[in-house]
């Protein structure tokens, strides 16, 4: 347990990356959107929220790619490094998710910040009550963090070549998926019939996160630094 705490502390030794940066970037993008909407009645709703999800993706890469060698050098086992990092990610996702949910409430309350600007409300998936928004955000942020960790670990194990293979592999899978979907419009197995509701989608994302989580650990077990 102490090992997990030490790993978490290690990531936070310079709090800026994990605690401040996601919000600073989001605030910056938010302000720009505010200014633009004020001036021109700009894009509405915006995709500004994607920025914090991208940040978590980046932090995932950082945690399992950049910070990994020194972390293992300090004597963390791979198991405790992975677990400690994951626990940190989950805690951050929960906290930041709550923040996003509260901002959504504020946005509704001010009718889109007085400008009908929708940053924290996203139709279909982030349009419900605050606690469901919290849950969905939590799952989404965690998913992107773990996905980022995959990139970090793959880079450490197989370098640039491995990364390229990983990306190309995913692109190939997606293309195959699209072909399958094209060919069978009514084929339920393509997955579309899975998601009639926002909660259904959240559940799928959560399942995906869990799969990546387990897979990530399997990848980390044999990484050399």
């Amino acid at each position: 347990m102490t090992a997990w705490i030490n790993v978490g502390r290690y990531h936070l030794v310079d709090p800026i990356a994990y605690l401040v940066a996601p919000w600073a970037i989001l605030a910056f993008v938010f302000l720009i959107n505010l200014v633009i909407t004020e001036a021109e009645g700009g894009p509405n709703p915006t995709k500004a929220l994607a920025v914090i999800y991208l940040c978590f993706f980046g932090l995932g890469i950082l945690s399992a790619g950049g910070s990994l060698p020194f972390g293992l050098a300090l004597g963390a086992s791979r198991r405790s490094y992975y677990t400690g990092t994951l626990l940190l990610a989950v805690a951050l996702a929960a906290a930041d998710g709550l923040g996003l949910a509260l901002l959504q409430v504020a946005e509704r309350g001010t009718h889109g910040w007085g400008l009908a600007l929708h940053v924290f409300q996203v139709s279909y998936i982030l349009a419900g009550p605050w606690y469901l928004t919290w849950l969905t955000s939590f799952v989404g942020l965690t998913l992107l963090f773990v996905y980022g960790m995959w990139y970090g670990i793959i880079y450490r194990r197989w370098n640039r070549f491995g990364l390229v293979a990983f990306i190309v592999g995913q692109v190939a899978v997606i293309r195959v998926w699209i072909v399958i979907v094209d060919r069978g419009h009514n084929w339920g197995g393509a997955g579309f019939s899975f998601t009639p509701s926002p909660m259904g989608l959240t559940a799928v994302l959560a399942a995906l996160a869990v799969v990546l989580l387990i897979g990530g650990f399997a990848l980390m077990r044999r990484v050399s630094v």
Binding site: N6, R9, S67, P69, G75, A76, R222
Partner: protein, 298 residues
């Protein structure tokens, strides 16, 4: 007594090559052992495997009585300082703080003193450090951790002679006050020779020499003088090297020379120069451990 480090049949195959080939040795602590060999001989691979940063293809490692792989209890009592360590992009003081959490014996006082000794800029990002400063940072972490098993892999990249001597002095001083098991790999052998109790020489992945440092001193001598005198002296002894120019000859004779030998050499007007540890070690690949031992008793 259980050896502190026990390596048995360790092999590491990589792209058809054997980076390590059936390596076996035990190290008892507290002690300072030198791991010597040329670049690419396998020193770094060996230390990385002991520290579980890399995996062996075959064989076993035991540290402090158990396998260190994924073993937190052992890992926190062990530190490996590598000259090619990848650091996260943090400031020096952050890295030192992080290290202080992981090592139960961490000494903040020692770390402070060493930072001052090496003039490390605490607030600078590690990315902005020179090679020598990165090495110094590694040294600070390695020594201040006061880990029971402390390993240094070529801890001198970018350090000038003065800084290196500072490292040896500080290492020796802290070792004296807090004895532990130290394994130091180096190819600057003569600098460290006086600190080592034991020497392991590795060449192309194999251990080619495993001896006490004291046994190696005087183990071979360069004998020079006139050809006749040298040949007379060297008769019946194992000779490793022979060079001549005109009527002068110089051979390397193995086996410790006693007072009688020296007296005889004086009579024959020969000059005797013992081989330094560095010279000895560079002679070893191509000769087996057996050869050296036999030469000693001849």
């Amino acid at each position: 007594m259980t050896p502190t480090i026990s390596v048995s049949g360790l092999t590491r195959r990589y792209r058809g090559q054997r980076a390590l080939d059936d390596v076996t040795f035990d190290i008892d602590g507290p002690s300072i052992t030198g791991l010597l060999g040329r670049n690419g001989a396998g020193k770094t691979t060996l230390m990385r495997i002991i520290a579980t940063q890399e995996f062996a293809s075959a064989g076993s490692v035991r540290v402090l009585g158990s396998s260190p792989v994924e073993n937190g209890a052992v890992l926190r009592r062990m530190v490996l300082v590598r000259e090619d360590q990848t650091f996260p992009r943090l400031r020096v003081r952050h890295l030192l703080r992080a290290a202080s959490w992981f090592y139960p014996n961490w000494s903040g006082g020692l770390a402070e003193g060493l930072v001052a000794d090496f003039n490390l800029p605490l607030n600078r990002n590690v990315g902005g450090l020179s090679r020598g400063m990165r090495t110094a940072l590694g040294i600070v972490i390695g020594l201040a951790a006061r880990a029971e098993v402390t390993m240094f892999d070529e801890p001198y990249a970018g350090l000038d002679a003065v800084a290196r001597q500072l490292f040896y002095d500080r290492m020796l001083a802290d070792f004296t006050d807090h004895p532990r098991t130290m394994l130091v790999s180096t190819h600057l052998i003569d600098e460290a020779a006086d600190l080592l109790e034991r020497v392991l020489v590795i060449d192309q992945g194999r251990i080619v020499l495993d001896a006490a440092a004291d046994d190696l001193r005087g183990a071979a001598t360069t004998v020079s003088g006139t050809v006749d005198a040298v040949e007379e002296f060297a008769a019946g002894r194992a000779v490793w090297d022979r060079r001549s120019i005109g009527s002068q000859e110089s051979v390397v004779v193995s086996g410790v020379l006693d007072d009688d030998d020296r007296a005889r050499a004086r009579q024959l007007r020969l000059s005797l120069t013992p081989l330094s540890l560095q010279q000895l070690v560079s002679q070893v690949p191509g000769r087996s451990n057996q050869d050296l031992k036999e030469d000693q008793s001849a």
